[in-house]
Amino acid sequence: MGNEAIARGAWEAGVRVVTGYPGTPSSEVIMTFHEEGRGLPIYVEWAVNERVAFEIAYGAAIGGVRALVTMKAPGLNVASDPVLSAAYSGVEGGLVILVADDPGPHTTQTEQDSRWYAKLSKLPMFTASTPQEAKDTVKRLFRVSEELKLPVIFRTTTRLNHAVGDVVLGEVEERDARPSFKKDPPRFVRAGMKWNLERHAWLNGVLRRVEEVASSLGFNKVEGSGEYCVVTEGVAYNYVYEALRGLGEARVKVLRVDQLYPVPSKFLAENLSSCRRVIVVEELDPYLEAEVKKLAYEERLGAEVMGKEEGLLPLEGELNPSLVKGALYRWLGVPQGQESTPAADVRLPERPPPLCPGCPHAFSYIALKLGIARAGYKLSEVPVFGDIGCYALSVNRPIEAIWTEHSMGASISMAMGLKVAGYDKPVVATIGDSTFFHAGIPSLIEAVHKRVDMLVLILDNRVVAMTGHQSTPSWEVTESGRQARGIDIVEVVKSIGVDEVAVVDPYDFNKMVETVASMIKRPGVKVLVAQHPCRLMEVRQLKTVKKYRVIEDKCTGCRACVNVTGCPALYIEDGKAKIVEDDCTGCGLCARFCPYKAIVEVGGA
């Protein structure tokens, strides 16, 4: 997998510090170290958020050791503050920032194109096209970073991170790993405005050397020849390669840009000088396209440059081989040929990812809704703010709990905003444990400090579940085997001085409903911590797992069980409820809502 290859590349480069925050599609880099790298002399740990992760890696790199920090695209937004300052101070040891964008988007709130961050932060940015190159690229980027004394961004997209392919392994570099740090305030203290001006000039000077360093390491390549020229990058290169191979045409030249910022203008100008028509094929925004158009103007290239802005390729969504092939054929003016006809498209009910069978979040959200009702409010008048995590899946039918989901930690502050604006009914913020540690704490401090009336429901399942069960600060031993100090979320909440704290196991369903109903009516910031481990994790540790079944004679097919819980282990067929035994985790939630007592424990009465 691309991410495993990246981990391997960093290891081969002698990396000493690896940090990050889980985020699809970037998480498997650190997970690979955790699975395969036990015993290696490398610090590999998840950090509380991307900003902290970056600062840890940066601290290591100014001490002269090689460091890697990983995150998904929105993570770079979180880390951006220190990243921008780091461009002025630079590094001694190589520092690679891996940022995984998600065209599609498959699992991300926006189709953010992080290439713009390279321009904004003035940090060199590179990409790769295949798992093999991902490994080799990360290795070379440590050298680029040390050569330029700048952090370097390695930008990937989902189809590279999650592509599996054959990779040839290399040697592991032996490096002296002892850090040292020389005091140099003009370089590392960003309080001096004159120093900042000087460092900015230094940075601009370094950026002029990027192409030279990159080409000496073999980045950017050109294939074929002709007056028709394709400029492409990253994963899109694969689609271009296959489309042209299928065409068997020799009149097309392909320029693959690995150096995304600053764009390799010498390489482009030289190779585009003989081109009459140019098409730019890239994921997400027409970033390279704008750069190539600018270059064509500056260098008086005289070629016609086309791409997304001319509508040859879509501005939204992910590219795929068929889209790229279609665009290239149209641009070349060759007939598409008869596509093979796909079998008939049948309309099927959608299958959006639901909360898992037995998910404690399902208990919490259903109890929240019942509690709001029991307190005498209409569900339509109590906004439930959501946050980033599995629990956002509660937006789907039938639970339909959350009203918003924006960015890490936003639930609490957004709920507060509505309240201070004068909203006269209760507001509820719901946030997961890891998200609370990541960005919820400052928001809670704000709400407490300003004495806002609100209910905060912390859904504490003890793990970063959505991205594949990574550790949270509450763990006593991390994935690498490191002894850690578990941070008690309830103590943190108390120490902030909230008006009320309650801890309830959502599996204790009635208590959960009552607690919501009583807390929501009282003034002040009330925090209800719903504590129950992620059911998938819990079931793995249980020796025997209970199962539930439907007594067919008693079931009337009223669908109450499905309509309330939405449990994916339940379905209705031939007018009766059925339970997929393999998938049932024995939580008993559905049984509570069957008016006919038709759902019982297997082996029970």
Binding site: T24, P25, T107, V164, N238, A344, R351, P352, E573, D583
Partner: protein, 200 residues
């Protein structure tokens, strides 16, 4: 080059199957790429895994109408995937039935196991092979081995990998008992296909 699409419900082992196929391809001296989306679709959502095996494979995914083979681990998801099939393609469908929640919420359930099967048969005709994968997997020792049963059926038809290469690939992806069960499941899948071929 072969384009293979594995369609499944998250948690059924579609990703594991694509991993086994990629490892087998590499051990066979072929190049391979797989592409899929993890994360949210991990559990109980629709998951498509693209597997490409051949001499000079570059892209990890392919487009609609380009699959030579579809391996469906669940009936609904198999129907959903048919738009990826080439007109010369073949579909292997496990007879697993896990309707999405949205189907059960609708007051008039238009779908049932029989309807889904009928729809598959109508659109695919001869190109479809339905496999009693659950029974075979249970016979091998675990319902979790449905994915590898399907690999057995697929490979008996496509003859893409040598058997000992598949055994190695299975054991490297699934160490321990799961691997042993899977090897048995693979054999049962193969045997099922051979029986079918004989009676056809």
């Amino acid at each position: 080059m072969f384009n293979i699409l594995i369609s499944s419900v998250g948690g059924q082992g579609g990703l594991t199957l694509s991993r086994i196929m990629a490892v087998a391809a590499v051990r066979q001296g072929l190049s391979a790429r797989t592409g899929e989306t993890l994360g949210m679709a991990q559990r109980f959502g629709s998951v498509l895994s693209f597997v490409r095996v051949g001499e000079d494979v570059q892209s990890p995914i392919f487009g609609p109408g380009e699959a030579d083979y579809i391996i469906g681990l669940e009936l609904f998801e198999t129907v959903r995937a048919t738009r990826y099939l080439r007109d010369t393609g073949v579909v292997f469908a496990a007879d697993e039935y896990k309707p999405p929640v949205s189907a059960s919420l609708s007051p008039k359930p238009a779908w049932g196991r029989e309807n889904v099967l009928r729809s598959l048969r109508e659109t695919l005709g001869e190109k479809l092979l339905v496999v009693p994968a659950r029974d075979l997997a249970l016979r091998a020792g675990s319902a979790r081995a449905i994915n590898v049963v399907m690999l057995g059926v697929f490979n008996a038809h496509a003859r893409l990998f040598a058997d000992d290469v598949v055994y190695e690939a299975i054991k490297s992806v699934l160490p321990g008992r799961a691997g042993e069960v899977s090897v048995k499941a693979y054999e049962l899948g193969k045997a099922f296909y051979a029986e079918r071929a004989k009676s056809a």
